[in-house]
Amino acid sequence: MGITVGTPDVEPDKPAHVAGVRRGNHRGFYKRQPGHRRDDRSTARRSTGINARHHNPVLPDMPNLSPA
């Protein structure tokens, strides 16, 4: 039996990924994120691009907890 449907407007795989287009999840993109360090920690640069260094902790032992 099946369901009778009209002619589709688009191909079923239309919303699939198009080869060659950059993907946000690509391996290696993490290291390009400003303020995100390789040791899984982050700096104030992840929160702001303006004078970010001035917003880092005053002592190196303090955790760097930048605002959202």
Binding site: A16, H17, N25, F29, D40, R46, L65, A68
Partner: protein, 601 residues
């Protein structure tokens, strides 16, 4: 509700009573019963759904990374459970492991979801069946007794009599009813903090979350959680009082909704210390989940192994509007461990809808299929139910004895929950012990205990997440590559029970995708072996305690039973407009001029 007299059958006078649609649930469910009013018993029951979803049909060809955003729309109340489950399935397919902080954030969002959804369902929908107005109509004798019966836990919840509690459940005006709505707002805010949005999360992705982890995020969550705890402690005490009273006032009420113990739980809350989403290690990390996956048959824990659970899944037909797919393509013949995968397993299912007239006399009568779990010990296809979620989760977790956290622990025979002191209530220790058998009351009772369980777990998750943040570890997302060909499966608990997503990727696109939420298990019709689904099974043989006769029968005992499973057959997504009728399409730009012309599409 409609009634009509049927001819006598087997010397019994049976009356057809149909409840279609069932209200106060999500979606479209009909319950068709045959009742023997003289013997006060439901003799036969069939559950039908008249709506077709079709996600498994239109997911094909999509980018797999979109799966959680699309499948979230399966449900308008537990969409984030679907998104989470889809993310788990994608993590397995992509071979990516979420950073610990990301995992704690997902767990916190899901804990808030359980608290939100169970509270709103219990206090705003289930308790309408137990409130003053309803009980006055259906069982005036019980209401009179409730007015006279003092509430044993009055010191904990502040109500003097059982009647007072039942009055507070009255819809739109009762104190508890209104308070539950306030709680649902708080808990939704908690979800939004963690997952960006409720009910369709915006910051949940495979590989992690986009939530920015700051100390503020977790303290905002904790403030709301603390306020909820006051309510949860009172709610558990009120639940116990009301349900104990029903047993006392209506001797034999434990038989209402009674069913053989056939419970399934697919586990919830991953432990970031062990979870890597690899199929080969699924048993190991599955057993470390903070709600233990498990199958409980006749009060015994059969397995906690997610691989066993996965391979035992069978989607049967028999009374559903579909054609068989055994002649269609086999997508996965062996799992990554080399075990054979059945043709009726979700990985190999092809959905072939066949719309037809409903035939309740031996024909097809539902759009729901019949998921079963193959028990290799007995070669039975078990019609597992979820009991609305909490009873199965608590039962499996209690018997497995694997959960050990500061606030919640499993003892091997029970679950203990310690809730700390909060602004208006002292600290409380709750203990849930499995009942002798599942029935309507026990399914409902477990629900509020699980809210307490989720709240206790949330406290633990906040502690763990803050430990990460305080040490400066703020990573919440791991990048990954989408493989050309892969398979994945995700196991999670939707609010009302088991949830699995099975995905096959080919050429970087989805080749097959099958979500199996709890209601297909619970609302399934008779399969081709003639085994009735759980609603049918629980309602068949159900004694009638309602004082009304056939003329003004409300079917309250049947409704209580069906609602105890927390039915959720979400709205349809397919519309067939016939031969090319065109819907008007218009577009309203955000800052455009069409808005003031009423041009909303």
């Amino acid at each position: 509700m409609t009634t009509r007299q049927a001819a006598p059958a087997e010397q019994r006078t049976l009356t057809d009573v149909a409840f279609d649609p069932i209200t106060r649930i999500v979606g479209n469910l009909g319950i068709y019963t045959k009742i023997d009013f003289a013997a006060r018993e439901v003799v036969e029951c069939k559950s039908t759904s008249s709506i077709f979803r079709g996600y498994s049909v239109f997911m094909k060809g999509k980018d797999p990374r979109d799966a959680h955003f699309i499948t979230s729309r399966i449900c308008g109340i537990c969409g984030d459970n679907h998104a989470t489950c889809s993310v788990y399935a994608q993590n397995m397919a992509y071979g990516v492991k979420t950073p610990p902080l990301g995992e704690w954030i997902v767990n916190l969002g899901e804990a808030a979801e359980y608290m939100f959804d169970h509270t709103i369902f219990q206090d705003n929908m289930v308790f309408v069946d137990y409130c003053e107005r309803m009980v006055k109509e259906t069982n005036p004798g019980v209401w009179e007794r409730a007015e006279r019966t003092p509430a044993p836990r009055g010191d904990q919840h502040g109500h003097r009599t059982i009647g007072d509690i039942m009055r507070s459940y009255n819809p739109f005006e009762g104190e508890t009813y209104k308070e539950a709505l306030v709680m649902s707002r708080l808990t939704r805010e908690m979800i939004c903090l963690m997952e960006g949005r409720h009910v369709h999360p915006s910051t949940l992705y495979p590989g992690g979350v986009g939530t920015v982890a700051t100390p503020q995020l977790f303290t905002d969550y904790l403030v709301r959680l603390t306020r909820c705890l006051d309510f949860v402690k009172r709610a558990v005490a009120m639940n116990d009082d009301v349900f104990d009273f029903f047993y006392e006032a209506l001797p034999g009420y434990e038989e209402v909704g009674r069913r053989r113990t056939l419970l399934g739980c697919w586990g919830a809350f991953q432990d970031p210390e062990v979870v890597d989403y690899s199929y080969k290690r699924m048993n190991e990390w599955g057993n470390r989940m903070f709600v233990t996956p498990g199958i409980v048959v006749d009060n015994q824990l059969v397995t906690t192994d997610l691989v066993d659970i996965n391979l035992g899944m069978r989607i049967l037909l028999g009374s559903s509007y579909y054609e068989d797919w055994t002649a269609e393509e086999t997508f996965v013949d062996k799992d990554p461990l080399g075990n054979p995968v059945d043709k009726r397993h979700p990985w190999n299912q092809t959905t072939l809808p066949a719309p037809q007239k409903r035939d309740l006399d031996g024909g097809n009568y539902s759009w729901v299929m019949s998921p079963r779990w193959f028990d290799k010990r007995t070669s039975d296809f078990l019609a597992l139910d979820t009991g609305g979620g909490p009873i199965a989760r608590l039962w499996a977790t209690a018997l497995a004895g694997k959960v050990e956290t500061p606030y919640v622990r499993s003892t091997g025979h029970s679950v203990q929950i310690d809730l700390p002191r909060t602004p208006s209530s002292p600290e409380v220790r709750l203990e849930w012990t499995p009942p002798a058998f599942p029935n309507t009351i026990e399914r409902n009772r477990a629900r509020m205990y699980f809210v307490a369980y989720a709240a206790g777990m949330a406290l633990h998750f906040v502690d763990q997440a803050l430990n990460e943040v305080r040490s400066g570890v703020t990573k919440t997302f791991q990048d990954f590559k989408v493989p050309k060909d892969a398979i994945g499966c995700g196991f999670h608990e939707a609010v009302r029970g088991v949830l699995s997503h099975h995905m096959v990727i080919r050429d970087g696109k989805i080749a097959n995708y099958h979500p199996y939420p709890p209601t297909p298990w619970n609302a399934s019709p008779r399969d081709f072996y003639g085994t009735p689904g759980p609603y049918e099974d629980a309602v068949q043989g159900c004694p009638i305690f309602e004082e009304n006769g056939p003329e003004n029968f409300k079917g309250i005992d049947i409704m209580r039973t069906v609602r105890s499973f927390d039915p959720c057959l979400p709205c349809g997504v397919h519309m067939y407009l016939g031969g090319g009728r065109t819907l008007t399409q218009s577009h309203s730009p955000t800052f455009g001029t069409l808005a003031d012309q009423g041009g909303h599409g």
